[in-house]
Symmetry: C2
Subunit: 725 residues, 2 copies
């Protein structure tokens, strides 16, 4: 690997008591300037006094069991819906409310304040039962419906206390710990706020060695509902939803502020909840704004305490980050000094880099744990952590070239590395490579091709790059594949929601992109019934823009209009629905533009469409169904892509397609190579061209230098070259 | 092939003038008792006087061009919708209404009576334009919208005369005829009725040799809209829709009778029209009833004329059969003496056999034409008509064993057979086999296993067995595969619509079956939001019934309830929708019941579902998705099947599954063999067991005789054995 000389800084090492010498040795090998503790580890004085900056991890709502046990009314809550129970023969239907849920995570909240929000639904008629038609029997923790309609299905939506902080629960369960369950307390109560403020004040006073308090994160975890059935332990996981902020008090405060009350069903939504992947409702947005406001207000109080003790405050952009919304314009009100995000993928680097904060740090995978997130071995027999690290780095690095990140780091138990010297060596090289890239950014931004992509979905800047969750949790959605591809392209990218798009001059965008399944936040849902939106986008394309739609772009959720895709006239295609069984479809010939398609690239068939315009050109098809279509519309064009899956070859295909559609010739650019496995980034101010091999085999590629010379390069597997002007 | 001795009768031969000797020779070889003419052929006196009964084919609304040209206002009509046109820059949008349609089939009807039904729609807002916002310019045959909203899309729904009878148009075009285009006249006008009555009276008087007038069929063709673009000539084909009955007068009469008016959009439906595959609307049912009433009334007048001339009246259950509805309870009001249906498949035999009429005749394929329906050669170089006939017969025969058909026949040009002696010989054997089967039915009905299947869909008895169209036109729907399998099973089958199911005692049904894509007439659509229906079916299953759902059974069309499948609690599964991206699914082990699955059987994955009940048993799965699930519900059970494709092995799998689910042991029955390629039918009154080999290779099978003996049989490819007690 070609790299800068061994360098120091921008590296956060997880220290470990009992392994002081090893900690300091690795800090030296990796060029660390910061040592941190991890969940479950404490730093010894020897480490604290070794001359490194110290990060201390604080999950403020956790680890207060004594106080929590004395104040059980201040635990965090959520609303849960039981599975539906069918009324059959007997006159009485009894629904034990906790039967479907993990008893160690939840317990019933049947206080009067909570009970007023409980709802019993007849799901066959989809109506809430009047209060007089059911009652709760605390002894059996059951709802009783004395006179159910035979064979109707009933559910109970109820308040539950959460009695085990979920990240701790996960680590505990995964690592088979045998220690006390940590509870989470809810800062929505003034008493909790007072307690936590005092506690943090005291903590700062008693931790003089700490330079940076790393909050993990603020107060409310993403939603993670475990079930009683071991066959379905993960009943529900949404990294972007607010259901774990809900408490009777929060709802009462909301009603006071907004002038209307939310009911349980506003969250429960027939048991589906409001997953981030769905178009948000107005009530949902109101509630999110409300909680965000609350988290900022009390979060700021805590950060002020940290600052008063001359420490910095960083926030971890994971775990209990709900209500923090780092990419919202209000984030700066917290006063955080830095943000740390754990990353598997390039898009997470861009998500982090886009936050307005002084210091951006990424936590690399694999964590130094015996077992990884998916349950596979890492630092344990059968694991290959070096290979894992190399794979993640090949995704992360290409995004690091596009956007500046200030620091990298690891997490976990350092002593596990004693048996993995190759991993230690690999990270040393990786750290040097990171610092070399960072120094290029310090000189000036990398060059981009003259093409700006606007990614259009329901969340816009509130959920840029991510689809809420890591790649492997959202892989079924085309957009995460596209975002991952985009994260390393030499293009400018901006995310827009449907409200913002109406207020913007769209001329700056070479391409507007809309990608998602029908009825999702990503394609947009029924927002496309708005003629204003249709007109705005149509005018943009007609006057020269490109609209790139993937899977079910602009799809209305119901079959009530003449087309499913609101912009079928631009895209030249529409979705096949059962009503079209009797309709013929335009025959076509597939005429590929060979130059667009690298070897091994492919387009998956994620939606079955037919042509709506006889002039539409089919560039690719599968079993008679068009998968890539370009349709002229005025001076611009629609481009339809059936699906997208990120691979090295497909990434290059997408970039080729974008440049082709936008009419940009980049053949002689230093920003493109002739090998889809090899990408480049050019930093004009540093006068350096970086060539990266994203493949795990050695590659050759011809690259163009800024002076116009074309040179043949050989790059080792996963390696990089730094070529100076 | 084992067969009865050479026999005579029940066979209708298409005679051909100029080939008199050959006609009579084939009549002898095949044991024909009837000679018919065909579309485009005329019988000579030599044939008419040869001692055979004579069928004459009459398409009453066609072949009156002189009268039609003198009365162009009495041609048949339809409503058409143009493709949508996008308004862009200019202030005026002009839509030439005929541009999308085949000029030889349609011409604009801009008479005042018709214009009052025209509609111009803004499809972006999905609203009809007020009359003052558009006008029609006859000179350019165009609708002009002076002030369209930029980038909104507009359509015109207009009345068109139909100027070329569609079946004739198809034959003309396919066979490259060079003769006059035959028009169709519309009996909705009293003048047409008078003309046709007089004409038929005269026809009967001048055709004394004719014994049977075969109507082809009554007045209105199924919908077949051809486009101007050769790349999309078949814009729309629906064998079950009523759009070709529509005329200004028909709509006026409807409004008088029903007290409310229909508008163009009631038919056009955003350009989707109301395909038979979709759940029908109330207005659609009203209109169908109205037209059916009209067709019966005037049809009866014509049939009375035929009867007065001591001829019989048969009707062809194809082509212009719309409004006839042979399976409706009103069909007997016509007074038809027989019904003829052309068949490719077993389900069409059952459809025919189920009509209440004296004589049931089937027209076998292939027709004696150079080219078959799909455009492939038949009696032409490259064709293999004997193989075609054998293949169709193997589908048809198993249904003939279950339901009595009185006659078979062929159609087309007899002289084409001169070069195909093997075909002549094959049909001779086939005719004997048919007559042998018929004679068994004459002795008494075949035995059935003690299991009755109720097939539940939106059309019930109005569209039993068929999905409107031949198998190859509807193959994408699971139900046609199931109906085809059922057509030869030794089970009783009844079709029920959702209204009828509410009035019936369901105990007689061992299994209720509901099979179809989401949002179709076959699964039912939003009728499943009716709690009464849900309760009725639930109670049936709870008390011991079996509910077999395929693909998206009981699926609501929108995601507004807690489940998509209204009976997910019975089926034990529900559909995966995007909102479930964040929801976990119950893990399961697949535990196949090996005895259910013959070699080479398979279950296609037509819908992605997850388990909703931890007790549900997964018997088959594909890539982690359940494809066959059995779920106990009270004393009964739900059975979920992801999809079904009719093959010999899959048919037997379905029968095995049905018997297993209903708890019926048939191992020792004479109605099942140990070879899925071999089926049996037992006729107790005739004391005969028929063993058929449905495969095109020789097969051996063990069959059980009625005395309990089990015997090993060898049956030639596609052959049959008749074993007497």
């Amino acid at each position: 690997m070609s790299k800068a000389t061994n360098s120091v800084g921008g590296f956060t090492l997880p220290g470990e008591s009992g392994y002081e010498a090893y900690t300091l040795k690795l800090a030296d090998i990796w060029g660390a300037d910061v040592i941190r503790d991890s969940d479950g580890t404490v730093l010894s004085d020897e480490i604290l006094q070794a001359g490194y900056d110290i990060y201390s991890t604080l999950c403020v709502i956790r680890d207060h069991n004594t106080w929590a046990d004395a104040h059980p009314q201040y635990l965090q809550s959520t609303l849960l819906m039981t599975d539906a129970r069918t009324a059959t023969d007997g006159p009485i239907l009894t629904i034990p409310v906790m039967e479907d849920f993990f008893e160690e995570q939840f317990t019933v909240n049947d206080s009067p304040e909570a009970m007023k929000y409980w709802q019993v639904f007849d799901r066959t008629t989809n109506t809430a039962l009047p209060a007089k038609q059911w009652h709760y029997e605390p002894s059996g923790r059951s709802v009783v419906i004395p006179e159910p309609v035979p064979f109707h299905r009933y559910t109970v939506s109820f308040f539950a206390w959460r009695i085990w902080e979920e990240i701790s629960m996960y680590n505990h369960t995964t690592n088979h710990w045998n220690k006390e369950h940590l509870k989470q307390i809810d800062p929505v109560y003034p008493e909790t706020q007072e307690y936590l403020s005092d506690w943090l004040e005291h903590w700062c006073e008693t931790h003089p060695a700490t330079n940076v308090v790393r909050f993990t994160s603020m107060f409310y975890n993403f939603v993670w509902i475990w079930g009683s059935d071991e066959r379905n332990r993960n009943r529900y996981t949404d990294w972007g939803s607010y259901d774990f902020t809900v408490s009777p008090r929060m709802l009462d405060l909301f009603a006071d502020r907004y002038g209307y009350a939310l009911c349980a069903e506003d969250f429960i939504n027939g048991g589906k909840l409001h997953v981030t992947h769905m178009p948000p409702t107005d009530k949902q947005r109101d509630y999110m704004d409300f909680v965000n406001d609350f988290v900022i207000a009390f979060g700021r109080r805590l950060i002020d305490i940290v600052h008063r003790h001359n420490k910095k405050a960083y926030v971890f952009y994971d775990d209990s980050w709900i209500g923090v919304e780092p990419t919202s314009p209000r984030f700066r009100e917290f006063g955080f000094d830095g943000l740390i995000k754990c990353v598997f993928s390039g898009f997470e680097v861009r998500l982090n880099a886009g936050v307005e904060v002084d210091t951006h740090e990424i936590r690399l995978h694999p964590y130094l744990f015996p077992v990884g997130l998916g349950g596979a071995p890492t630092f344990a027999p059968g694991g290959n952590p070096t290979q894992d690290a190399r794979r993640y780095w090949s995704h992360v690095r290409r995004a690091l070239l596009r956007a500046r990140i200030d620091r990298i780091g690891l997490g976990g138990y350092l002593h596990l590395l004693e048996d993995y010297p190759d991993f230690v060596e690999y990270i040393a090289g990786l750290a040097d490579e990171f610092r070399a890239i960072r120094s290029l950014h310090e000189a000036g931004a990398p060059a981009c091709l003259p093409l700006k992509i606007g990614v259009l979905h329901a969340w816009g800047k509130l959920r840029p790059w991510t689809l809420s969750g890591h790649f492997h949790e959202t892989y079924r959605h085309d957009l995460i594949h596209i975002n991952e591809a985009l994260s390393g392209f030499p293009l400018e990218v901006e995310f827009l929601d449907f409200k913002e798009v109406m207020t913007r001059n769209l001329e700056e965008f070479g391409i507007l992109l809309n990608a998602g399944e029908r009825g999702t936040a990503w394609s947009g849902g029924d927002v496309w019934a708005d003629p204003g939106l249709v007109t705005k986008i149509s005018s943009y394309v007609y006057h020269g823009g490109v609209f790139l739609g993937v899977n079910c772009p602009t799809a209305l959720t119901e079959d009530t209009q003449d087309t499913v895709f609101a912009l079928s006239n631009i895209l030249g295609v529409d979705l096949d629905i059962p009503a079209r069984t009797c309709h013929g479809a335009l025959c076509f010939e597939t005429r590929p533009e060979e130059a667009l398609f690298p070897a091994d690239s492919h387009i998956p068939l994620h939606a079955s469409v037919h042509l709506t315009d006889s002039c539409a050109r089919v560039l690719a098809s599968l079993d008679g169904t068009p998968t890539l279509v370009i349709n002229e519309f005025g001076k611009g064009k629609g481009v339809y892509l059936s699906g997208f899956e990120t691979t090295l070859a497909n990434n290059r295909m997408l970039l080729n397609l974008m440049l082709y559609a936008a009419g940009i010739s980049a053949d002689q650019s230093e920003l493109l190579t002739d090998n889809p496995h090899v990408e480049t980034a050019y930093f004009p101010d540093a006068g350096t061209l970086v060539v990266i091999n994203n493949a795990d085999t050695p590659q050759s590629a011809t690259v163009s230098l800024s002076n116009g010379d074309r040179v043949r390069t050989d790059i080792p597997a996963c390696g990089s070259l730094f070529l100076s002007d």
